[in-house]
């Protein structure tokens, strides 16, 4: 087989040197009755060409011919060619976790740069070298806050990504931790009055997201003040960190976590991505995951090592700050390369393009009679639209035009029937936005007609506000 470097004669010779007569003897340890007596029922062997053909066939059954307005925690951005060229270097791609620092300075320095970039973006003092993704990073932040505060009650904004909340729930339910959710206001932001009453002196942490799941930017400073008052930590999750190039960094937070997928990591049906977690220097010992530190070798040259490993499970075992071991280094490296390429000005310009396109789209849709933009808070590259009639039917109509028109919010927010969450990044063209608005227009006109004519309709267009 083409991947295996032993030839038949190598094998015979090795067996001989070990003093065995047959390959079967190698498995003598395994009780006879436990051995599989038949070949595995899996397809193959495939040649390389056949593998490519197999997956090319699969890739055809995809949305690749469609324009997509989906965001909701996963963002389509243009990925410069250089990223994959560098990631494909065997020294990065096929390297082990950098325990042997002498053989991993490349990975270590790159992760150190990743950490630095994340602190610059988030306004925090230290960041770790990646977690699994945004959802688990948020959960790790919650667990960390509980360790720091030694409290067992957590308050979550309802505008935190629903799947992030689900992950937190899975982890917390076994630890007997109380969870409280705070609803949103008509602005689309967290309801500050309700938040006030939800926070108490038992609260370990408040978790908000900004821009939140509806795209609305949260008032982090005010919220931080409220949180601080009761001794809880403020955790700000940022699934779309491109926003941080234009939106004020949540530097009043205690922990900023999120998802670095936006930075050059493919959408890839939801993973692999790269979670990040940044915090204040003084909390670093409770931080989960790996941390790369700068040091100096015996000849005074700069070097990098995994630091504070005593928090980790190799040494602390059941008392570790987290069980995470293998994380998402290569995706963090992709993000590092991406951020270096874009740089200070590039990232800002890109964020401006996202903002411009998103607001162009919002205006184009808002100009259609019957369409509403329900939330009033400022937003970055995502916003919510109330559709003129059934959101499902509208999505169908858009799909016929090869447009995936966003996410139906009722899936996660039953009260938001006929509301769509739309994301407009730089890869969506004006022409496509115009085409989408045109479908809205036709659809709205058709819905109105149905009302006028009193015909059956899936979702009554008149049922507004």
């Amino acid at each position: 087989m083409r991947y295996l470097p032993n030839s038949p004669s190598d094998r015979a010779q090795m067996l001989n040197e070990i003093g065995l007569k047959s390959i079967e003897e190698l498995f003598n340890q395994i009780p006879e009755e436990l051995r599989l007596k038949r070949p595995l029922q899996v397809p193959g062997p495939f040649s390389e060409q056949e593998i490519l053909e197999f997956f090319r066939e699969a890739a055809k059954e995809s949305s690749r011919e469609y324009v997509s307005l989906l965001g909701a925690g996963v963002y389509q951005h243009y990925r410069p060619v250089v990223i994959d060229v560098l990631l494909s270097r065997g020294e990065f791609l096929t390297a082990y976790t950098p325990y042997q620092a002498e053989l991993a300075q490349g990975t270590l320095q790159a992760l150190f740069e990743f950490q630095t970039l994340i602190t610059q973006l988030t306004g925090m003092e230290v960041a770790n070298a990646s977690l699994y993704d945004g959802s688990t990073a948020t959960n790790e932040a919650v667990l960390m806050a509980m360790r720091v505060t030694r409290r067992e009650r957590v308050v979550l904004a309802r505008t935190l990504h629903p799947e992030y909340r689900e992950v937190v729930r899975t982890y917390l339910q076994n630890l007997g931790v109380k969870q409280v959710e705070v609803p949103y206001a008509t602005s689309g932001q967290i309801d500050l009055a309700q938040l006030e009453s939800a926070l108490d002196l038992e609260t370990a942490a408040l978790v908000i997201q900004s821009p939140n799941f509806f795209g609305s930017i949260e008032r982090v400073s005010e919220i931080a003040a409220m949180t601080r008052k009761c001794g809880a930590l403020l955790i700000v999750a940022v699934p779309e960190p491109l926003s941080l190039a234009l939106v004020k960094e949540p530097s009043e937070a205690d922990i900023v976590c999120g998802e670095a997928q936006s930075f050059g990591v493919p959408v890839a049906f939801g993973g692999p991505f790269a979670g990040f977690l940044a915090t204040r220097e003084k909390l670093v010992r409770q931080m989960p995951g790996r941390l790369v530190g700068q040091t100096v070798d015996s000849q005074g040259r700069r070097g990098f090592v995994l630091t504070l490993v005593t928090r980790e499970q190799f040494i602390r075992r059941e008392k570790a700050t987290s069980n995470i071991c293998t994380s998402q280094s290569l995706c963090a490296l992709a993000a590092t390369i991406y951020l270096c390429l874009l740089g200070k000005q590039g990232l800002k310009r890109l964020a401006e393009h996202n903002l411009a396109k998103t607001h162009y789209a919002a205006e184009a849709l808002a100009s259609v009679a019957g369409v509403e933009i329900p939330f009033t808070a400022p937003y970055f590259n995502e916003f919510v639209v109330k559709t003129p009639g059934s959101a499902g039917a509208l999505l169908e109509a858009l799909r016929e035009e090869k447009i995936i028109g966003g996410l139906e919010l009722k899936r996660f927010y039953p009260e938001l029937k006929n509301h769509l969450l739309l994301c407009v990044t730089e890869v969506v063209r004006k022409a496509d936005i115009d085409r989408m608005a045109e479908v809205y227009r036709r659809f709205a006109a058709h819905s109105r007609m149905q009302v006028t004519e009193g015909e059956f309709q899936v979702a009554p267009a008149g049922q507004k506000n």
Partner: protein
């Protein structure tokens, strides 16, 4: 070649950039106006400004300081490092697979869903289990997921058990996961063969114990040949058997955990199934279970109907919930499937044979120079001790560094903890 390379920030100079945008095709806006003073950020302080050339050169130079499978042998025990086929990277990058959004309507995402379903089918066949979730992002998260399912299982039967038994040779993530799952880890001493001590197990396995967390072959590279008896004892007390499948490389095609009493286990696609380690991830840690645990799998699960149409089923009332957003590290499932397809049934068996052959060859060649921790034939790895060398003051860490001087990546140092001065190959 001598290569010094500073931090990328040190190359920064105002006005440089490594990426430029296409012309904006909508009217420009004022971010300051839209966001208002309260929210507007004018600058990311300290952010680098470098050209594309400098980025390429910086990371190329950094990479030359790394060791990888592509540059040499990785004789690591426990962490199976195998060739990462390049075609796997190519297929994972295909437009359609690399670009579908996780919220793509199911009818437009059949390609991705079928890949997941097919990968799941293969892994179930290989493990001999009944069902699987590809959601966990790595081995440790797989462990946690499995433990939470054990918990949910007991709870569903109105039992409240507090302990998980963990052999002292176990990987650190095992006890760490136990804690996060809300259990207490109880240490299980190994016997003089490096295996689970049945006496110890008898004593420890009470009605308060939710289950046993076992690695098989264990971290000494030894197959727990009394596994059936072990499972029987655990099950007799109402417990469940969790298997850490990090070492499945020694078993694929030869024996199936589903057939020796394991109730739940995880796999590491970044070990056994050749997805690249990437300098510390991404990995993937699917959890496979027997029927009794199926209701508790993380939601959603993928279902394929008779016509081959795949759906995500979220209607799972007994599910432990999600452990990660979306469907796990999809891209790793693509690669693992490509790996399985490349080999096919005979090929996978050959891999296992070669792994065990290689380990035993190493054992045979080195046993005259180094002391074996436990004198038993190896499965896919073997563990020596530095006992002899330590008498002259040379420890496992020193031997490892000397290997580096010769251009080799060392073995796994000082693990498992039960072997003094462990050298795990």
């Amino acid at each position: 070649m001598t290569r010094n390379e500073g931090l990328i920030f040190e190359r920064s100079s105002p006005g440089k950039t490594g990426a430029e945008l296409s012309a904006l095709d909508v009217p420009p806006v004022s971010a300051k106006e839209i966001l208002g003073e309260e929210f507007y950020r004018s600058e990311i302080q300290g952010f680098p400004e470098v050209s594309e050339l400098e980025v390429v050169r910086h990371f190329t130079r950094l990479s030359t300081w790394n060791y990888g499978i592509d540059t040499g042998l990785y004789p690591l025990g426990s962490c199976t490092m195998k060739y990462n086929p390049r075609v796997n990277e190519a297929v994972a990058a295909l437009e359609g697979l690399a670009t579908d959004h996780p919220y793509t309507p199911e009818s437009l995402a059949q390609g991705c869903l079928k890949v997941l379903a097919q990968a799941a089918r293969c892994l179930i066949e290989i493990t001999g289990m009944d069902s699987i979730s590809l959601q966990p992002a790595a081995g440790a998260q797989g462990e946690l997921t499995g433990l939470l399912m054990m918990r949910a299982y007991h709870k569903d039967r109105n039992e409240h058990r507090r302990y998980i038994l963990v052999p002292d040779s176990a990987h650190g993530t095992n006890p760490a996961s136990v804690t996060i799952a809300g259990y207490e880890a109880r240490n299980l001493k190994s016997n003089d063969r490096g295996c689970v001590d049945l006496e110890e197990l008898n004593r420890a396995m009470t009605g308060e114990v939710a289950g046993l967390m076992l690695t098989n072959p264990n971290t000494l590279g030894i197959f727990e040949d009394q596994i059936q008896e072990i499972a029987r004892k655990v099950h007799a007390k109402g417990g469940l058997v969790y298997m850490d499948g990090a070492n499945m490389n020694a078993l694929v095609g030869v024996a199936r955990p589903g057939e020796f009493g394991v109730d739940v286990m995880h796999l590491n696609l970044h070990k056994t199934f050749s997805t690249p380690h990437g300098g510390g991830g991404p990995g993937s840690g699917p959890v496979a279970v027997k029927k009794i645990l199926e209701p508790f799998l993380p939601a959603p699960i993928i279902e394929e109907d008779a016509e081959g149409f795949c759906r995500l089923n979220y209607d799972r009332p007994k599910s432990i919930g999600r452990v990660r957003a979306f469907y796990g590290n999809f891209g790793m499932a693509v690669r693992a499937l490509a790996y399985i397809l490349a080999y096919g049934p005979q090929g996978l068996h050959q891999v296992t044979e070669d792994a065990v052959l290689n380990a035993n060859y190493v054992l045979a060649k080195l046993r005259s120079a180094y002391e074996l921790a436990y004198d038993a034939p190896a499965m896919h790895e073997c563990v020596f001790s530095d006992r002899r060398q330590a008498q002259r003051g040379v420890r496992t860490g020193d031997i490892a560094k000397r290997l580096i001087d010769y251009g080799f990546h060392p073995y796994t140092v000082s693990f498992p903890l039960i072997v003094p001065g462990a050298m795990m190959i």
